[in-house]
């Protein structure tokens, strides 16, 4: 008796016969395997360099922001007034 698990492979093979693989795949593959042309490499180099320059230029601003934050006077909450139990006495209203 064939079991379900042994039916999976032939069933899939039958269904996948309807699947057509792309015909131009080898040419695409060759294109992907080619090293990028010189101008593209140069462009990547320029972009990387520009990113590094921007990063480097932003460092002083970052440092300055940290310095300002550190040196800013701390704003402390005002000291609480001494508690006076007389404050809790009921108010006297004049009649």
């Amino acid at each position: 008796m064939t079991t379900l698990e042994t039916r999976i492979r032939p069933a899939f093979d039958d269904v996948l016969d309807h699947l057509s693989a792309p015909a131009v795949a080898w040419e695409q593959l060759r294109t992907r395997m080619q090293p990028p042309p010189h101008h593209r490499r140069l462009l990547r180099l320029v972009v990387s360099a520009a990113a590094l320059v921007l990063l480097g230029a932003s460092v002083p601003f970052g440092l300055e922001a940290v310095r300002v934050r550190v040196e800013a006077p701390a704003i402390l909450p005002a000291p609480r007034e001494e508690f006076d139990s007389a404050d809790l006495l009921p108010l006297q209203f004049a009649h």
């Binding site: 379900l4 032939p10 899939f12 795949a25 080898w26 992907r32």
Partner: protein, 177 residues
């Protein structure tokens, strides 16, 4: 591996690699990407193929690993998309089929609708043809987990596929003589 050798492999195994990638990813576009990426890896790591060893298991493992990596990469987005729009790439069931082929399409659809972990494990074990040990190694899970996933998946399939498979379940489980 030189380009000539790669071309030989490509001509000989491309279709099979594409099928493996397709059943795992369930998308023609992803299968195309995965297959190409797998051949690029095969080109790059051709030295790992030991002389005299069969090529297909080596190439198949590259395709499977590439597909699994690809699937993990887009897991979140893919999951969201599947919630609203689940489809099976370019495969469309023909309107008229013999009863045997009808069963094949039903079985294919049922496997592909299993929960993802069960689906991938069943495909590795029963379509792609890995042993349970190889599947465990590929998925980086214990052997017992592979076996339990396969059992659970087969049980679900039998439940889902109707009377013919339910009788088989009963025979397997010893309910019927």
């Amino acid at each position: 591996m030189d380009e000539l050798r790669l071309r030989e492999l490509f001509d000989r195994y491309y279709k099979e690699c594409y099928r493996v990638a397709y059943v795992l990813t369930r998308s023609a576009a992803d299968a195309d990407d995965v297959t190409q990426e797998a051949f690029i890896r095969a080109h790059r790591y051709g030295h790992t193929l030991q002389p005299g060893r069969p090529v297909w298991p080596w190439l198949r493992s590259i395709v499977v690993n590439t597909a699994l990596t690809h699937m993990n990469r887009g897991k979140t987005l893919r999951g969201l998309l599947e919630l609203v729009w689940r489809q099976d790439g370019v495969l469309r069931r023909p309107p008229v089929l013999s009863s045997e082929r009808e069963e094949n399409w039903d079985l294919y659809a049922a496997v592909q609708k299993l929960p993802e972990k069960l689906r991938v494990t069943v495909l590795l074990a029963y379509y792609i043809g890995l042993t349970h040990e190889e599947a465990a190694q590929t998925l980086q899970i214990p052997l017992g987990t592979v076996k339990s996933r396969c059992n659970l998946a087969l049980h679900k399939l039998r439940e889902q596929l109707g009377p013919r498979y339910r009788i088989e379940t009963a025979l397997v489980e010893g309910v019927l003589p």
